[in-house]
């Protein structure tokens, strides 16, 4: 009962805030800002990865500070049946852990390549999302997608990222890290989707091994429904992983709101994990993010996150606060500079670290 009451209270906070303020709308914040579904700008209906022609054009026009002349925008389309794309990110990060020497690194974080083949452009396509660098190449997503006549329903089969909550770029955000559904954990199976008017819904049945081989007969069931309006959206997700090593049930509510200069994201996740060493463990994770697009091409992002690793244990909660400035001067380029502070239990130094980071993001 305590959990239900807390869930309802948290849901109330989110829904209350966004509904009562009426002109609420929600990386995901761009979708909220523009009032569009994820699949408008990304080939994957759940967002992330290759951009659609519209997504490419948007990223060269309304997204950047300076448009370069009247050049014909790049759409990623090579003829009618073929499209390509890519993302590359270089990053510098400095981590200050209390009592330890500061740690700095500069790396090519990832170079991703996307290919879409559309033998029947309106109805059927094949898609591959592969990490090319660094290290060995790894296919992240590979699926075939069939759009059913009428255009509202679609089905895909293969390996893909699961529908659950907001698809944040930051895999270390508590809501993505703790849920285990992020860009590190594609899963294999099939997914049924519905996109129409204000509604977007997905139901997926997958192996439930987070990218690993099938180890038991249990499956993972993921569902996400969102209601999308011009200035706000609200949704919920449910995930059940029937695993021999211990079932895991997750649910969340999420919402986005556009309040003029600010765009908000919020998500609360409640997880029941039966595979914990001490038996059943209940976890909470939440995120509230404000994006201030004070000038075109600029975005200031303030994020507050909270994580309770065990509902039955007091004084183990953690926070993470991030302040990030994002600047997209011209097409295909964005810089990102940020500061992140972690607050956790004092006896674990890593839970109380500070992080400074910068990133150069190129895409096409």
């Amino acid at each position: 009962m305590k959990d239900v009451a807390r869930m309802m209270r948290l849901a109330g906070v989110i829904f209350g805030v966004f509904f009562s303020l009426q002109d609420v709308q929600a990386e995901p914040y761009i979708a909220v800002e523009t009032g569009l579904r994820c699949g408008t700008c990304h080939v994957s209906p759940s967002g992330g990865g290759m951009r659609t022609a519209y997504g490419n054009i948007y990223s060269q026009t309304d997204f950047v500070a300076h448009k370069l002349g009247d050049h014909k925008p790049w759409t990623g389309e090579i003829g009618r049946y073929f499209a390509v794309g890519g993302d590359a990110r270089w990053g510098w990060v400095r981590q200050d852990v209390p009592g330890q020497p500061a740690e700095e690194s500069t790396d090519l974080e990832e170079f991703l390549a996307y290919v879409q083949i559309k033998p029947f452009p309106k109805y059927f396509s094949l898609y591959i999302d592969a990490k090319v660098l660094p290290d060995d190449a790894v296919v992240r997503e590979q699926y075939a997608k069939l759009n059913l006549p009428g255009g509202e329903w679609w089905v895909r089969a293969g390996e893909f990222f699961l529908p659950y909550g907001f698809r944040l770029q930051d895999d270390e955000a508590f809501i993505r890290q703790v849920s285990g559904i992020n860009y590190n954990t594609p899963d294999a199976g099939w997914e049924l989707g519905y996109e129409s008017g204000k509604w977007s819904a997905q139901l997926a049945v997958t192996r439930g091994t987070a990218g690993g081989p099938e180890v038991d007969s249990g499956k993972q069931y993921s569902a996400r429904v969102s209601y999308v309006r011009q200035d706000w959206r609200v949704g919920g997700s449910f995930n059940f992983n029937d695993a021999a090593a211990g079932d895991r049930q997750m649910q969340n509510v999420f919402a986005g709101l556009n309040t003029g200069p600010l765009t908000w994201l919020a998500e609360v996740d409640y997880i029941i994990d039966d595979g914990a060493p001490t038996g059943r463990r209940k976890l909470w994770a939440s995120l509230v993010e404000a994006n201030w697009g004070y000038r075109q091409g600029h975005n200031l992002k303030l994020t507050f996150e909270w994580f309770d690793p065990d509902d039955e244990v007091d004084e183990d909660e953690r926070n993470r606060v991030s302040l990030v400035w994002e600047y997209a001067p011209i097409h295909f380029m964005q810089g990102r500079v940020g500061y992140r502070r972690y607050d956790g239990i004092p006896q674990n130094a890593a839970q109380n670290r500070e992080q400074f980071f910068a990133e150069l993001h190129l895409w096409f």
Binding site: R6, V13, G16, V17, S20, L21, Q22, Q95, Q100, E103, L126, I128, D136, V138, V139, Q142, Y143, G158, D171, E172, Q177, V178, S179, I181, N184, T185, A188, G208, T209, A210, P213, A245, L257, T259, W264, G275, A276, P277, T278, S286, V288, A290, F304, P309, V313, D314, E315, D316, E317, N319, V321, D343, G344, I345, P346, Q347, N348, A350, Q351, R353
Partner: protein, 432 residues
């Protein structure tokens, strides 16, 4: 658990907002909404939540991993799994590597870490074990912690690196044989807690050594050729008079870990057979701990050994088998390790699956091979049940197909014995 929305001092936290009443409540803030720009109200409300409602825990009564001290409490850093579990896995890894959603199925919580790590091949680099007892440099866990692995980021992903001084304990634990628990000098008899290769395992080739772990330090003088006996069955059955006693090159305590005995069998003829290791706990020559406590060796299939009473031999077997003429054996020894590797014949149907042929499981292989037309060579069938010579699979493996390269492409060709087993399976009807 802090209250998520307790009464907050919004004025103090976020400044006054025109229209707010003096009761200083959320309701008053919402009431003020209509009179102020909505984004500011929203910001103030969320600011209040952030500042007051969801603070970090004080950590009172918890260990470094955030677990109640009553569950075991702080454990000083040491080269033991117990310490590494608390100070490394629990403290830095299990936010992700726990539960059913653990990446790649790699769960590092206390009940699962040992079985998921020690002796288990890495999924990112199948040529390495996650923890290779005695070999920290070639243990993938160490490479991931030190950031030298060939694939993926340094662990903990996105977090601060585990200090070198801590990794040194992980290295030492592995170098010491990667034993499951720290036991110290215990009450009760001496027991066996691990064996590599595992009891009842089926191997493709004879290993160079057998590693046996005990729960305590062993008197090195009792680890010898008289207390570690090795034989093989010759015919698969022990005790019928034809068992063949074998002579290991040496039997000795591990130089790095006096709880581990190493039987060097690198010089033994690697015959396909069932091997039996006997560690004596009864008779004139027995294994003793440094305190003189005898081995309690009876083994019923799971560790630790023993029936609670000193005495009794530890007896375990393992087999070395080449590829058998069954789909299960071919799958385990050929298709899975040589064909269904990342980027080749594995995964769901899609453009990256060569010839649409998934060979990642026996069921998939059967469905994609037996009686299925070749996509590469029109008119050919991949496996013609009962006729190996007519099966395209055999031609691809022998390099006689008219189209494409010899399989496994880019790797060494299968040896004649293995191909013969595949031929035999097909000739026998290619049964599932």
């Amino acid at each position: 658990m802090p209250t998520i929305l307790r009464p907050v001092n919004l004025h103090a936290a976020c400044g006054n907002l025109p229209g707010m009443t003096d009761d200083n409540s959320i309701g008053s803030l919402v009431a003020a909404f209509g009179r102020e720009s909505r984004w500011r109200v929203t910001g103030l409300l969320l600011c209040a939540i952030a500042l007051d409602g969801c603070g970090a825990g004080s950590g009172e009564g918890l260990d470094i991993a955030g677990r109640p001290l009553a569950e075991g409490g702080d454990v000083p850093l040491a080269a033991t799994l117990e310490s590494i579990q608390v100070n490394v896995f629990d403290a830095s890894c299990i936010d992700c590597h726990a539960g059913a959603a653990a990446p790649l199925g790699l769960r590092l919580d206390a009940p699962n870490s040992y079985t998921n790590l020690v002796g288990v091949p890495s999924q990112q680099n199948s040529s390495l074990l996650r923890v290779d007892p005695g070999k920290p440099d070639s243990s993938y866990l160490v490479q991931k912690l030190e950031g030298t692995a060939s694939e993926g980021g340094r662990m903990p992903l996105g977090g601060p690196s585990v200090p070198d001084s801590t990794i040194a304990f992980v290295r030492q634990w592995i170098a010491d044989g990667a034993l499951p628990t720290e036991t110290g000098e215990l009450d009760g008899p001496t027991v066996v807690v691990s064996m590599e290769p595992p009891p009842s395992s089926i191997l493709r080739s004879l290993p160079a050594e057998i590693v046996v772990g005990f729960d305590r330090e062993i008197d090195a003088s009792t680890i010898n050729l008289f207390t570690f006996l090795l034989d093989r069955s010759v015919d698969g059955v022990f005790g019928n008079g034809d068992d063949l006693a074998l002579s290991p090159a040496s039997v000795a305590a591990s130089p790095a870990n006096s709880r581990v005995a190493i039987v060097d069998i690198g010089s033994i003829d690697p015959a396909e057979d069932t091997y039996r290791l006997t560690v004596t706990g009864s008779g004139p020559n027995i294994v003793l701990s440094v305190a003189g406590v005898a081995l309690d060796g009876e083994f019923a299939g799971s560790f630790p050994s023993g029936d609670g009473v000193e005495g009794g031999d530890f007896v375990a077997t393992f087999s070395v088998e080449g590829v058998q003429a069954t789909l299960e054996s071919i799958q385990a020894n050929v298709f899975t390790p040589s064909c269904a590797v990342a980027g080749c014949h594995t995964g769901p149907a899609g453009p990256s699956l060569p010839a649409g042929m998934d060979l990642s499981s026996a069921d998939a292989s059967f469905a994609n091979l037996v009686g299925v037309d070749s996509q590469q060579s029109a008119g050919d069938v991949r496996v013609v049940a009962g006729v190996a010579d007519a099966s395209y699979l055999v031609r691809k493996l022998e390099g006689t197909a008219a189209v494409g390269g010899r399989m496994p492409i880019g790797a060494a060709a299968l040896d004649a014995t293995t191909i013969a087993a595949i031929r035999a399976w097909i000739d026998a009807g290619a049964e599932r």
